[in-house]
């Protein structure tokens, strides 16, 4: 390995032009590179299962950068968790201002949710949250409340509006909302988390969403 590094040194010496692989990163670059490497490796091996050495090797830079940027492995995990949470959270909540008809709203919500959950970063987030139960229960719980919990609540409110207008007939709107979300997740989500299949294509998502909304709305229609 030493020899390999030595050979590279010829590159860095006097190359004045655009270096294909900048030898020096600024803070922002290092930050991003480390998070990206941590995320990629977490997808492959499990959340933060890879060693810091592996992360460094992929991200470039030195071990020290992890400590200067994140304060250690825990800090890196937290940062990764926060980053992905921020990406995924919007998809888990219903846009309350959307005033279209109920079916369209449900479809939009379902489409957004299942697409995000089954995407690559949605899967990683799931893993982080799931495993986070053991190393940072607070954060996991917090995410659950901010994300899926809030999404279910907003959806329940929308259902209550629909019920008031006689569109649907249901006892517990929050329970119904949770069931709807459960249907949306269905088996797709589980299969994705277990890495038994690639992310679904648009058509597949669309078909899934159609079926879910059909059954759900039909199940709630006034008799």
């Amino acid at each position: 390995m030493h020899q390999g590094k030595g050979a590279d040194e010829t590159v860095k010496r006097q190359t004045s032009g655009a270096a294909p692989k900048p030898r020096r990163m600024n803070a922002a670059e290092r930050h991003a590179a480390l998070l990206r490497a941590a995320r990629e490796l977490s997808i492959e091996q499990g959340v933060m299962a890879p060693s810091l050495d592996a992360i460094i090797q992929r991200a470039g830079g030195s071990r020290r950068s992890i400590y200067t940027e994140f304060g250690g492995k825990d800090g890196l995990r937290d940062a990764l968790m926060a980053e992905i949470s921020a990406e995924v959270l919007p998809a888990t909540t219903l846009d309350a201002r959307q005033e279209g008809d109920l079916r369209a709203t449900l479809k939009q919500f379902a489409r957004n949710l299942i697409a995000t959950l089954t995407s690559a970063h949605g899967t990683v987030l799931s893993w982080i949250i799931l495993q986070g139960v053991f190393f940072s229960p607070e954060r996991a719980r917090n995410f659950l409340e901010q994300g899926p919990g809030r999404g279910a609540k907003l959806l329940a409110e929308r259902l209550e509006v629909a019920r008031a207008q006689g569109e649907i007939e249901v006892r517990d709107c929050l329970a119904a909302a949770n069931l709807f979300i459960g249907m949306v997740r269905g088996n797709l989500y589980l299969e994705r988390v277990l890495q038994l299949r690639p992310p679904p294509g648009e058509e597949e998502i669309e078909a899934h969403v159609d079926t879910v909304v059909d059954i759900f709305l039909n199940g709630l229609r006034p008799r």
Copy 2:
């Protein structure tokens, strides 16, 4: 600790009756004790997160027993996985011979499934399967196919019978079965896996099952 053990020795000496804490285990006892300790600690700290020392300490016996019984930590994990799988599998499949009406069948299936999934060992199994993706994907995939996969298939067959009899109206019975299972899992399962709540009581399960089956069957009823 030595003194504590020494004090116990008086018990074992000539006590002909039931020894409260037998000093020597036979193979079966050791096997069971180790699996039990591993399971309990896995519930508390994550699958196989505890060290062998912790497991030994709880199970009694010596480190060597793990190697003689299971060949090492990996063997113990596999054995634990197999054991819990065997316990949970029956609940994930529909009893095909049950010839009652559709609603009763669905309720029975849903009740069994959600009760098992949200129970303590169901939660551990989930963790084992989830994390198993990374250390033994084959076993995880196999379980999924044998359990939930087969359960969904059997349920789909039952739905097809119902469809043939005009009880329900649905395009894709397998998709519907998966949605049903998704509804049954709902949020209860997720909250349990994330240890955000204790196992639901019977009334709670019953209410959940009622709502699920109501919406589902209503959603599929012929128009």
